[in-house]
Symmetry: D2
Subunit: 314 residues, 4 copies
Amino acid sequence: MHAIGVDIGGTKIAVGVVDEAGRILAQVRRETVADDVADIDRVIAEACTELAKEHEVGAIGLAAAGFVSPDRRSVLFAPNIAWREYPLAQRIEDLLEPDVPVVVENDANAAGWAEFRFGAAREATDMLMLTVGTGLGGAIVVDRELVRGKWGVAAEVGHMRVVPGGHYCGCGHEGCWEQYASGTALVRDARQAAIAQPARAQRLVELADGGPATITGPCVTQAAQEGDELAVELLSNLGRWIGEGSASVAALLDPELIVIGGGVGAAGDLLLSPVRKAYEAQLSALGHRPVASIELAQHGNEAGIIGAADLARR
Amino acid sequence: MHAIGVDIGGTKIAVGVVDEAGRILAQVRRETVADDVADIDRVIAEACTELAKEHEVGAIGLAAAGFVSPDRRSVLFAPNIAWREYPLAQRIEDLLEPDVPVVVENDANAAGWAEFRFGAAREATDMLMLTVGTGLGGAIVVDRELVRGKWGVAAEVGHMRVVPGGHYCGCGHEGCWEQYASGTALVRDARQAAIAQPARAQRLVELADGGPATITGPCVTQAAQEGDELAVELLSNLGRWIGEGSASVAALLDPELIVIGGGVGAAGDLLLSPVRKAYEAQLSALGHRPVASIELAQHGNEAGIIGAADLARR
Amino acid sequence: MHAIGVDIGGTKIAVGVVDEAGRILAQVRRETVADDVADIDRVIAEACTELAKEHEVGAIGLAAAGFVSPDRRSVLFAPNIAWREYPLAQRIEDLLEPDVPVVVENDANAAGWAEFRFGAAREATDMLMLTVGTGLGGAIVVDRELVRGKWGVAAEVGHMRVVPGGHYCGCGHEGCWEQYASGTALVRDARQAAIAQPARAQRLVELADGGPATITGPCVTQAAQEGDELAVELLSNLGRWIGEGSASVAALLDPELIVIGGGVGAAGDLLLSPVRKAYEAQLSALGHRPVASIELAQHGNEAGIIGAADLARR
Amino acid sequence: MHAIGVDIGGTKIAVGVVDEAGRILAQVRRETVADDVADIDRVIAEACTELAKEHEVGAIGLAAAGFVSPDRRSVLFAPNIAWREYPLAQRIEDLLEPDVPVVVENDANAAGWAEFRFGAAREATDMLMLTVGTGLGGAIVVDRELVRGKWGVAAEVGHMRVVPGGHYCGCGHEGCWEQYASGTALVRDARQAAIAQPARAQRLVELADGGPATITGPCVTQAAQEGDELAVELLSNLGRWIGEGSASVAALLDPELIVIGGGVGAAGDLLLSPVRKAYEAQLSALGHRPVASIELAQHGNEAGIIGAADLARR
């Protein structure tokens, strides 16, 4: 059975028809206005209706950044779109032409599920997926099942606290993992280093071409690939936090595989090596247990579509 | 179907027949020698054989402190008994007179399962159990299933890191949660306070009756119940660490109920109130999600027997 | 001998004639343009010249936020004014009508010296002054002498690190004391609490009258004075960081008195009590040494003028 | 004028005649019983009397581990000898045959003074001395004067807190610098690594020749000199803590020179390089100030004698 997956971003929506092997057969993209909730509904429904004319579709899955109700029908809260206890599945069903069931999934869960079913973790039974981007998103698979939690809010891994009294987080707390293990953290650390250690940051500032405040993640990756000592340290430090936090998760969940997604994956082994080293150094009971593999995600930006579609079929 | 549960400690073994409602119908206790593995096998088998003569028994579950293989047949590693990849289930089956299947379970998992099936969490679907004793043990139930992990090593919650560069742990790492949220931590903090703030620690030292180094957990609880300011602070601090760490676990697992077991439960609300307050203060997305309940365990020392027996039936 | 003290702010300059008892006999205020260095010189020189016509003046002291050379002639670096290795004393002397020697002092040092000579610490020999404002400034007196350090940069107490991996600081590092012990920290913590614990922050948000992002320090103080639990906690937390950091300084310097200046002093005992409690709880070797007193500063905004004038006489 | 310096250890006493250039002209050593205070007095007095027969001596300085009164006459408290408000100088004067004035100094202060007057810091005016041994001792020189503090208890640098909630310290607190920057910390970290990362610790355990618990500081140094990766990391980590803590001290005191004494100096650049790197990386306002030099101490075990003698002359 084919299914449609929809990846709903703040200003863009990507919609694809996905087959049972996780392949995207057709795809359309639409722009939206983040604070116009009804417009988002309409754009989604039209795109789905359009694709459903060309493809026989048995289910629709919507991937949304936010808290999703356990019955997979509503978004309880979203940080970037004005959904509050919003019955998103029902609204889309009401607007659709074909009579196809709709479910909502958290976007990080959808992406993780794509990796679990058709990507880096397709042979695994217990997986931790980390999406290292603006924030740190996650998905957890235990014994082949996605962990959604009692109220649908599980796998908010970025808000595990890793430093008491640590960096402020947008969630109102201090020391959240995503403040140390995200692209945002990498950039902020690079900019701080350019202030605190200006001589060492020369190459970074050059690449940024506009002073410390314009350093970006790709600048750091490029400088590190050139061998710049500070840039290598910054990626290594990011990797250390990813690996050490993962070891804490492993103390709880004992996964066999940790999948790293998000833009920082472009750094390749400059990131993965320190992740693996830190994971192993920090893993409880090393020597009395196997060590989980740590691999890059395979589906990039399309993971949300693929995972949402596949979850809709279940 | 009745089942036998066996709780294997370092020097004592408790064996009970458990019915399907989680009641213990009969129980025997035996002493063992911790480093004589064959003796432990023999003592367990004899006790089970003896009880099986009086009761019809369909399965035997062994609760052991250590890493248990995912097939529930072997102990991979135990901190206090000389088991290393030890085929414990097979050994007991070989020695038993009745032909009854035997499984091995981690002791904290067994205790948690008892609470989940017949205790504080019997109405829950997603639970975190914390056993706050010498160390910090745990059990995790997700959607009605015990989380064992890929290699049977999940729910080692005490080794989630809560303070980078924090207290040394016996596992070789620093800052493990059990170094802040255990009876051992409480006692150590009390003794440290007696050195650092001698005037405030007078009542504690009096109760200990032998100087700072003899302060025990019950001393702290008693002093706190009398209203001693330092003792109340120490319990409050312990509670804070339990609650804050639980909030990190909740970011991953979104449980509906957190069950607190172990000796520190004797402190009642002097402990539970700060646990709940810290959990709520530290919980991600408070206001956009329900808050898990936090309750004391109901089965005390017998939880291992009850849980192991019930798990053996499954 | 009378002396003139000048307190140079980013946009305002206050100039006063100070007698040997630390009294201000006359005072004028002027506005300046922060990035027009020559204008600042001119405004200072004119104000001093004017006051020197009415009062016999033997020396002029300039209090400036920034690093001051050990010979007290130049500002090496200033965060808010465009001074870089700027020969400030010479420039003012060149523009002055009377022939009076000029010295430059760091503004926090000047304020601390005013408290030491004529204020809260006038009977002390060893003092730590903390100015808890936008940042955390300091002054250190050891055996009756101001500690300037080898290169004039001592007493930058706000940049002692108190939390590894802690809050980002404008200096480019993490975990600086001023990120925990300043008015800015208080406000930021209050705003974070309004996000993380909205129900508890109701009174604070009411007083702010414009949502979490408009909460100010005076809101917190007022709410705390009304008995609001969260506000009391926030001040208590600020006090704890002031006290605990002071205990670290005391391990190095063993002061007899710690003077707290800056706007947060308005909170009175709501702040001072937790400062004292935390200082004592964290002080090394309590019971084997006297405990320093902790008192509020007495000179408020005029401390810079008074201290700069008095230091110019020495 | 020649003076005698006495270095009083727990079980050994070293006594030397020191000339004005800091050279030891004669030296004797004696054994003592740590808890027999009168015996210690007698042994010191006899050794001094004996040396004073051969050398004209104008003053005697006693270096003692403990808190020394500001008048340099008494030991207020000592961790290893049963002195409590003990009038040590008077007792020795009473027992001496020659009529020579006696003063008491803290042993770390004495060692630091030796380096300041005749060793690594002889050209400096502002110095921080760190003695990295069993604990972390220190001495502070500001503008050519030893900082003793109001009550004689300054320069207890090892008890500056560097990690909130960090390692327990014998002083009763958590996270004291000496728990991260001492020989004891190095050994403990090495032993922990041997538990947590057994494969990487093979060479260390081999050198220890008796399992993880027998690893010593010299094992780590030797392994590091052979290029062992873990050992190099351990020294680097020790160096990082020394350097980062020193940067915090520099925020307060702006020293021109930091002198590293104690047994760990044997590691040479394997230790010094990471110290310097971390100091610079963590130093506030790098780029706007000179960076202090960091050098090894020059006087080894004799620093206490030399410094105490010289301080007695002042």
